[in-house]
């Protein structure tokens, strides 16, 4: 049981270091608070955006936290790949540049798995293959309007 956990942790940590470097401009890794007895400890994330000092996630800015949390989710998704992923507005805290980086990463990942992403942000919509529009008239009935194909590029 401990071995299963340590194997998973090591894999997820390796994924995290790679993905975090790609998404942000720095380096990060996962830390077990109790490495000799993991089940009696927790898991924290330490990261160092480029040019800044190593800091625990709690001290970061809204956008930095968001990017770190997403990198963490992608790390264990990559360890146990699923056939589809559904994300609901995960790009809210991100500025234009980071939203673009995230959209590019999803686009790359979508060659291996299906991504269904709810978003209001241009970078995400423009990088997707198609957009499903959802609207409501005054009667509160949801309606799916046509699928808008993005420019193939």
């Amino acid at each position: 049981k401990l071995n299963a956990f340590l194997t998973a942790f090591e894999n997820v940590d390796n994924n995290f270091q790679e993905i975090f470097a790609e998404l942000s401009d720095g380096e990060g890794h996962l830390v077990l608070t109790n490495p000799s007895d993991p089940f009696n400890g927790g898991l924290t994330i330490e990261a160092r955006p480029r040019g800044k000092r190593m800091q625990r996630m709690e001290a970061m800015s809204g956008g930095e936290k968001s990017l770190t949390a997403l990198a963490f989710v992608f790390s264990f998704q990559r360890y146990m790949p699923a056939p589809f992923y559904a994300f609901d507005e995960v790009d809210m805290f991100l500025d234009g540049i980071n939203a673009e980086k995230l959209a590019h990463m999803v686009k790359r990942q979508s060659e291996a798995a299906q991504f269904i992403v709810v978003s209001l942000r241009k970078p995400m919509l423009q990088n997707s293959d198609r957009t499903v529009g959802v609207t409501q008239k005054r009667d509160g009935v949801s309606k799916v309007t046509g699928v808008m194909l993005q420019h193939a590029s």
Binding site: A4, L32, G42, L43, Q77, S128, Q136
Partner: protein, 162 residues
Amino acid sequence: MHIQQIEIDNFKSFSNKTIIPFEQGFTTISGPNGSGKSNIIDSILFCLGLSSSRTMRAEKLTDLINNASKRREASVSIMFGNTDASDDEKVIVTRKIKDSGASGYGSTYYLNGKVATLTEIHDRLSQHNISPGAYNVLMQGDVTGIINMTAMERRKIIDEIA
């Protein structure tokens, strides 16, 4: 193996039977506030038994039935398949809820049209790494949840997939 179609009938704000086709690759869903985007994500969680009513923002399961129609039952059906697969290789998961008022309510799962238990559905899906612990569905606010959770809770995420 991907979602080819989601059929939503009388569920939350989808009072009309709505069939949404999905393709491989990267699809976005967009529209105004309150239009129904998150409800589509909820329909996936509901159909595949991936969450409780609370995470679909309903106090009880019957709150998920469209509240503007007289009809007191709702269903969601998801068809999984491969682009080059034949029809008998598709997997269709369906879930219906029916509100019988004073006599309670019923929730029934179907696998390829035949009644199935939640365990049978979960076993079939977990063969493809689809399960509540997999975090392959990230809801509005989940990112903040991961940021704010305790170190212990975050470690338990790894327990789930180990």
